[in-house]
Symmetry: C2
Subunit: 209 residues, 2 copies
């Protein structure tokens, strides 16, 4: 009998968000398909019916988890700083915001990035991801048109490289490490928008041929 | 009876490289664990013993596949252009070379990037990946020390963001698309080393406050 199992019925020790958090960790560790409701119940120290009290199915848990990640990312695009002002500044804000979402919702975004479209829930998530990518691509386009971003690279390639860099954070970022989200966002902006090369040394090289 | 099955014994229609190619495609599609030697034999139209003629085990196929990707990446670091001259130019060469390896060995690198260390073969591959990352990190360090790369970002973060961007190519690159490897390498260098922001507009903004 676990601590949770000894609690009274109707107060199973986990609310919906608590179950979601444990489920997402299990999905990331074992894979969604390999994680049965029985495995989840074991990990939570709950009966399966206690889980079903909160979620109609495993698919519903996945949908909620993916919605958490997608909702947070879409939220960044809807912030005032993402919709007003110069496109380059809006892009700056969106990239920083995305880094924050990745760091703050790390397990949820990790799960989202592994989705391959095997189920209806996964396919809906991929559709939302593509819509997000399209909105960012449109922003890159605007920034090129206003003359603040170089326009010699295809906007879709730019968007993919930017989010390749940002999404890779889930592979190596560990909370409590040397870099917090603000610092990491600064680093991403520094690499992506300003580049690693020292501008002066670069300019001198060019002048000297 | 397939075409291959009708061929004479000892000439099973696939050499080692041919078997490897089909196996890697299957591993990427279904996952390594989910792909049995029986599934591979079906896909190849060969008997299992015909596969065992070339490879001692499924693990050995995986090892060969991962070695193909890792050997190609390590090869880039050993090229003369990666070992002589200014560190910034060597880094430029290594990043371009890595993009070429990804594009040219796409299925092999895709497999490598999914390795999580579940078996001894996978752990050895991860050790080699880490050694590769360390050599690139050392190169970033040298380029910072010689003053050609900005030094306000931790070298390990730089290396991870650079390869986050490069490795993301396996997620979206399709051979025969609009961009070839040379063009894609140019784009990666443009974003990573020079940045997306237009230097002049940037400078004018700064001057105007």
């Amino acid at each position: 009998m676990t601590d949770n199992g000894t609690q009274r019925r109707g107060r199973p020790g986990y609310d919906q968000v608590g179950i979601l958090r444990v489920a997402v960790a299990a999905f990331n560790q074992y894979g969604y398909d390999a994680t049965s409701m029985g495995v989840l119940a074991d990990r939570l120290g709950l009966s399966k019916s206690a889980i079903y009290h909160h979620f109609g199915s495993k698919d519903e848990i996945l949908e909620r988890a993916l919605d958490t990640a997608l909702g947070a990312l879409e939220g960044v695009l809807d912030e005032p700083e993402s919709t007003r002002g110069r496109a380059a500044d809006r892009l700056d804000h969106v990239l920083r915001g995305a880094v924050h979402v990745l760091v703050e919702q790390l397990p949820y975004v990790t799960l989202l990035l592994r989705v391959r479209g095997n189920t209806e829930v996964e396919r809906r998530a991929l559709t939302r991801r593509r819509a997000f990518d399209k909105r960012v691509t449109a922003l890159v386009s605007e920034a090129q048109a206003e003359g603040s971003l170089r326009s010699d690279i295809d906007v879709r390639v730019v968007e993919r490289l930017l989010f390749g860099m940002i999404n890779s954070i889930v592979e190596w970022y560990r909370p409590g490490g040397a870099e917090d989200a603000d610092r990491l966002a600064d680093d991403v902006i520094a690499v992506a928008l300003d580049g690693l090369r020292m501008p002066t040394s670069n300019r001198v090289e060019e002048l000297l041929g």
